[in-house]
Amino acid sequence: MTSQEEVTEIGGVSALRFLWRQLTSMRTALILLLLLGVFAIPGSLIPQRTQNPMKVREYFVNDPTLATWMDRLSLFDVYGSPWFSAIYILLFISLIGCVLPRTVEHFKASRALPPLTPKYLERMEFHQSWKASGSELENARSWLRKKRFRIQESNGALSTEKGYLRETGNLFFHLALILILIGVSLGALFGMKGEAILSVGERFINIPTTYDSLSYGKLFNDRSLSPFTLTIDDFQAKYDSLTNAPQDYTLTVTATDKPGATPVKRIIKVNSPLSFGATNVYLQANGFSPIVTVRNKAGDVVLQGAIPFLPQDANLTSIGAIKVPDSDPQLGFVASFVPTAGRDAVRGAISVYPEALDPKLLFSIWKGDLGLDRGTPQSVYRIDTSKMKQIGLNSLKIGETFSFAEGSITFDNLVPWVNLQVVRDPGKIYALLGAIVAILGLLGSLFTRRRRIWVRVNQNGTIEVAGLAKNAAPGLEKEIAELVTHLQKERT
């Protein structure tokens, strides 16, 4: 019995060893690499939750059964899916299992001398031999040394090698890939990302409640939020008057790093974020907020302020909702805003230029129950009119007022709003470092030729020269020809 048990145990260990050897084999690495490439494809063809949640929702509306199945296979979340993770985790285990032993080996080899000269040099590439005149070995030695070959000499034979950088570079490249993965993971675990819409004049304090949306890494908490504040001073958008294409966005803010610090004026542009340590603030999108005042029948102000509208096209035709929960009955304005008014046969009122040259606010007025206290979250740009009744329809220019049965609305002015994205990624510096090392390693590896050259003077007075290039790298032939010419020139 005991002996049998022992046998199975050894069997288990050797099975493990067998698996490990399989996993770290070159063939497995190749297969895993190809799989990684192929399995990345579906995520680029099927909409992903992280990028395009609307499209994903459409799938669920159009064909719920199919969508549910796709969801079970993580097809809407490919790059976080168990199967995609499995591939890259296996690949990196294989990478570590492969590279660490090679690093140790290479470290040893890089301090050792090249192996002794083989017996039969004529089997090597570019073998040449001729009658020696005496000083060749010395000349060869100095020539090879000048070219920084590593030399092992014994019994009238030189065994030399050059190009260790190839393996060094290759190892650094593979190790750097691990560093990149570490950087990416740190970012995912300790990072955060949030968005906030702010009208010009408003203040942003970096606490969770100021955000419209906010997501954390698994190991991030509220206290890790950097304690800065921003005041939105000014936003300028420039457009090309021929093509209407945007040319420049400039956002001016007053920033304080932490409570009590002196405020400083700063500028944020599309390609130049504002940094607070590992936290960056990016300018993402912009639009207009009409400023309106709504009064009730008695003439008391029931709502006043800037209300962000959501752009629908490149000319900033925008939709929005003005909700007045504090009036009795509740009022709602289903509205659209056009910075430069124009008409389209199909769409009706549209904007024809993205700057506010001829701004107009168009709306229908509803009274009844806005449904705000029903607990279901509502879009700030839309009104649920199912429990309301339409009581009017109108449009206003800046400064105009429209009175209706339940009160009045004034379009006072407008301010631009900006969408700020706040991102903290403490891992990106490691990823960048890894990327730089990876490229340097690649360059070292792919542009270095590793080769051996042997020179031997035989008993019978002939001299032999031969070489061998790893991976059949080109260029050795020329090098040997140079060496031979050098040696033969010395002779004459």
């Binding site: 070159m26 063939r27 690495a29 190749l30 690499l33 190809l34 990684l36 490439g37 990345a40 494809i41 995520g43 680029s44 063809l45 909409p47 992903q48 992280t50 990028q51 395009n52 499209k55 490919v78 790059y79 990416v184 990302k193 090309d240 021929l242 093509t243 294409a245 945007p246 040319q247 420049d248 966005y249 542009k269 599309v270 390609n271 130049s272 974020p273 960056n280 990016y282 993402q284 994205q421 991102v423 990624d425 990106k428 990823a431 960048l432 990327a435 990876a438 490229i439 690649l442 360059l443 792919l446 991976n471 059949a472 080109p474």
Partner: protein, 304 residues
């Protein structure tokens, strides 16, 4: 000169380049078709191939063909530069501009490689591809010259896009050679090479050459992807977001890494390696054509 006259000049230069490439195409076609019609004299011992085939009568045409390729390259280069001047920026703002610059890089890669290797036979394929690219660019993809949208205003545009375009040019050249390998290989499997194909390099040379081209630009492509990530970090607040364009750049990178692996560590050569090379190259093309035109995501600069 005003902006629009630079733009007109650019268009004229592109049209002229197309005309010159057409001439190059015909010259190469003539060379390929007529070079080996008349075996001359008895085969002498030794280098049998050269002795029995006559290339001399098309040598002049072949030289002219190469001259046309160089002239076409220069005209195209001037056209791309003029386009940049007309827009007051680097000429890489939309798909039309990517295409003319890409064709320039492809042709440039061919001419550079031609200095080192006997690749003249590839001229027929190169001129055809360049003509097709320019033709599509000017008919389907053309957009008036205009300034850049804010997201594209960055030094990283210059760095990232130039690296990507040069890599693309060399990858496509490597692909063309891999395709030629497969074609000639299947011809040899059936028997001897046809007369016109006899002067093309041996399979071994083609195999090595496409490998060397890939190994040469792989670091540059790696750099292009990383530069793109750095730029994305500046513009969008994340360096990697699995946007379709990024995903396909990654797939191309992984595919070429697999190709290098297959060659260096597993020892793939010949057909298998050539197919893998073609696969990797097609992911690059797919990214360019499909993702630019039909794809979604943040990289919507085709201008279409």
């Amino acid at each position: 000169m005003t902006h629009s006259s630079w733009a007109y000049l650019s268009n004229y230069l592109i049209y002229s380049a197309m005309a010159v490439y057409t001439l190059a195409f015909f010259a190469h076609a003539y060379e390929t078709a007529w070079a080996v019609r008349a075996p001359e004299g008895p085969a002498v011992e030794g280098n049998l191939l050269v002795k029995t085939l006559d290339y001399s009568r098309t040598e002049r045409v072949a030289r002219i063909a190469t001259a046309f390729m160089i002239l076409g390259f220069l005209l195209l280069f001037a056209g791309v530069v003029a386009r940049g001047i007309s827009a007051g920026r680097v000429p890489w703002g939309n798909m039309y501009e990517f295409s003319i610059t890409g064709a320039l890089a492809f042709c440039g890669a061919y001419l550079v490689a031609l200095r080192k290797y006997d690749l003249r036979w590839l001229g027929l394929l190169v001129s055809t591809s360049v003509l097709l690219t320019l033709g599509t660019a000017i008919t389907v993809l053309y957009r008036p010259s205009a300034p850049l949208v804010p997201a594209l205003k960055s030094t990283w545009l210059v760095i990232h896009v130039s690296a990507a375009i040069v890599s693309g040019g060399v990858f496509l050249l490597a692909n063309t050679i891999a395709a030629a390998y497969l074609y000639l290989d299947s011809m040899e499997q059936k028997g001897e090479r046809k007369a016109w194909a006899k002067r093309l390099p041996s399979l071994e040379v083609l195999d090595q050459l496409s490998y060397r081209l890939v190994a040469f630009v792989f670091p540059l492509w790696t750099f292009a992807v990383i530069a793109g990530a750095i730029w994305a970090e500046h513009a969008w607040g994340r360096y990697w977001g699995w946007d379709p364009k990024e995903t396909w750049a990654f797939i191309t990178w992984v595919a070429y890494a697999a190709y290098l692996h297959a060659r260096v560590t597993v020892g793939w050569r010949g057909r298998k390696a050539a197919w893998l090379c073609l696969f990797a190259g097609s992911t690059f093309l797919f990214n360019y054509v499909y993702v630019n035109i039909w794809g979604t995501g943040k990289h919507t600069y085709s201008g279409l």
